[in-house]
Amino acid sequence: MGRRLLIAVIIVAAFILGVIYAWRITFIDGTELLFDSGWWLVLLAPLAGILAAGLTRRTDPVIEGDRVLRHDGPAMLEHWTHGVGTLVLLVTGFALGAFFIPSLLTQRQVWAAMNVHFVAVVVFLFGTFYYGANAFMSGERFREHLPTKNAFKFTVQHYGRLLGNKKYDMPPEEKYFESEKLAFLLALASTGLIIVTGLIKVAAHVFDVPGWVMFVVTPTHDVAMVAMAVFFVAHVLFAAILPMGWPMLRSMFTGYLPLDNAKTEHAGWVADLEANKPAPGDSAS
């Protein structure tokens, strides 16, 4: 617990310092573009994420008395780095003015936004590749995110009930709602696009990338950003805004979910855990 907190503090501090640096450098020396001077960090970040994953030991979900361990430390790390990174990227991205949308920033603020965007890119890439590598190592941690044949039935049932339709009762959802799993595909696709196009955009700072490539890449990056924004908003709405998501939100800090909440929301998952057969995702204890 203490160790986890320490890591968290270090990462948060590093991120904040990075942002402050990015901002200050813009106003002290207007010619400093981190995408120029620090492009190599964009290469290091994903590799660091991969390496970190390789050195990480995971703890699998388990019922501990009246609570369920849902997220181990690494899960929180990958979630928050990816999530906060995405948030900052979206904000700075839109601020820079996508498509025909004019930028609402002054010239100097545009510089700052670019530099902050850079810092977020590093964090985002680390977190995303850290998750990616983890998923790669344990197929189950990836698979548990993918929709099953129940996807449609469960989703209708789940939200039918939420909307107060008595003829439905709560489906036995797994660790992740079938609806979340559907959204996951969208997130996966947009993240992939953003990373590929984003890396090309960074590469343009280093190599002479042909104009026609950028002509395709930039709008694609923007489209993916919009898709990502949609997913992001939905995710925040269900996980943080609506009260039903609050226990889950809390668990993203504590790691634990009240057992009864898990029972109602994730009957299928709890059943698996209780059945005590190798729990899903039990690939690295």
Binding site: T31, L33, L51, G54, R57, W111, F136, A284
Partner: protein, 237 residues
């Protein structure tokens, strides 16, 4: 690695490298490679020398002949953007009715500098030397990231590289190499809209590097040798 690695169980028999080993290796080696590469480059490769060919042509202006009608600005934006628009013109005429000739007008045309600061500072090569069009210094809009380094770097006032706020990219004089709204061949080998419409012949095109004079223009005389001009009795060369 104190605990038991269960992943082996999920690996096909006989596999020598586990996924974990692969991932760890990839991360470690990659990291090492990049850092090594960077250090290597930093230590062993000399700084890139900035050397570019001279432009195949130049706009020559004679500020004393300019009548301030701004037709050149209108023509510039017209042939490049299909609209008359001072703010999109790559040549800028500024004038003050209450100032004394010849300081009442200044003509701000791009000089296609031999050592173009705008090209030098561009982080993405968007502002570049267009070898396909007589080495004219111009901006590849698709590559522009909107940092405006070129705009700030131009040594002249007003900056000859300008920001297109509508389409959000920098742009500058390309000697009409790329004029989608004009059926004339432009560029160093062709016609320039501003010179074409100038009624006073205050703008002309030359292939030889002109002597870079004051910010207000070159020290040239494009008209006063003409009998017509002399007929008007302006008392200026």
């Amino acid at each position: 690695m104190g605990d038991i690695d269960k992943t082996k169980g999920t690996e096909p028999e006989g596999k020598v490298v586990s996924r974990r080993e692969f991932v760890t290796g990839l991360g470690g080696v990659g990291l090492g490679a990049v850092i090594g590469g960077l250090l290597g480059q930093g230590f062993f490769t000399p700084d890139k020398v900035f050397a570019i060919p001279a432009s195949g042509g130049y706009l020559l202006v004679d500020t004393k002949k300019c009548a301030g009608c701004t037709s050149c600005m209108m023509a510039c934006s017209l042939v490049h953007h299909g609209q008359v628009n001072y703010s999109l013109s790559r040549i800028q005429i500024t004038q003050n009715s209450f100032a004394a000739f010849p300081n009442d007008i200044s003509m701000a045309m791009c000089r296609q500098c031999p050592f173009p600061a705008c090209v030098e500072v561009c982080p993405t090569g968007a502002c570049h030397v267009d070898t396909a069009n007589g080495n004219v210094r111009t901006v590849d809009e698709a590559k522009c990231i909107g940092c405006e380094r070129c705009v700030n770097a131009c040594p002249f006032t007003p900056s000859r590289a300008l920001w297109n706020g509508a389409d959000k990219h920098a742009q500058k004089c390309d000697l009409c190499a790329d004029t989608p709204f004009w059926n004339e061949k432009g560029g160093p080998g062709g016609k320039q809209a501003c010179a074409t419409v100038c009624a006073m012949k205050a703008i002309s095109f030359t292939k030889d590097v002109p002597v870079q004079g004051a910010d207000t223009g070159y020290n040239v005389d494009l008209g006063s040798t003409s009998k017509v001009w002399q007929g008007f009795g302006f008392n200026v060369g």
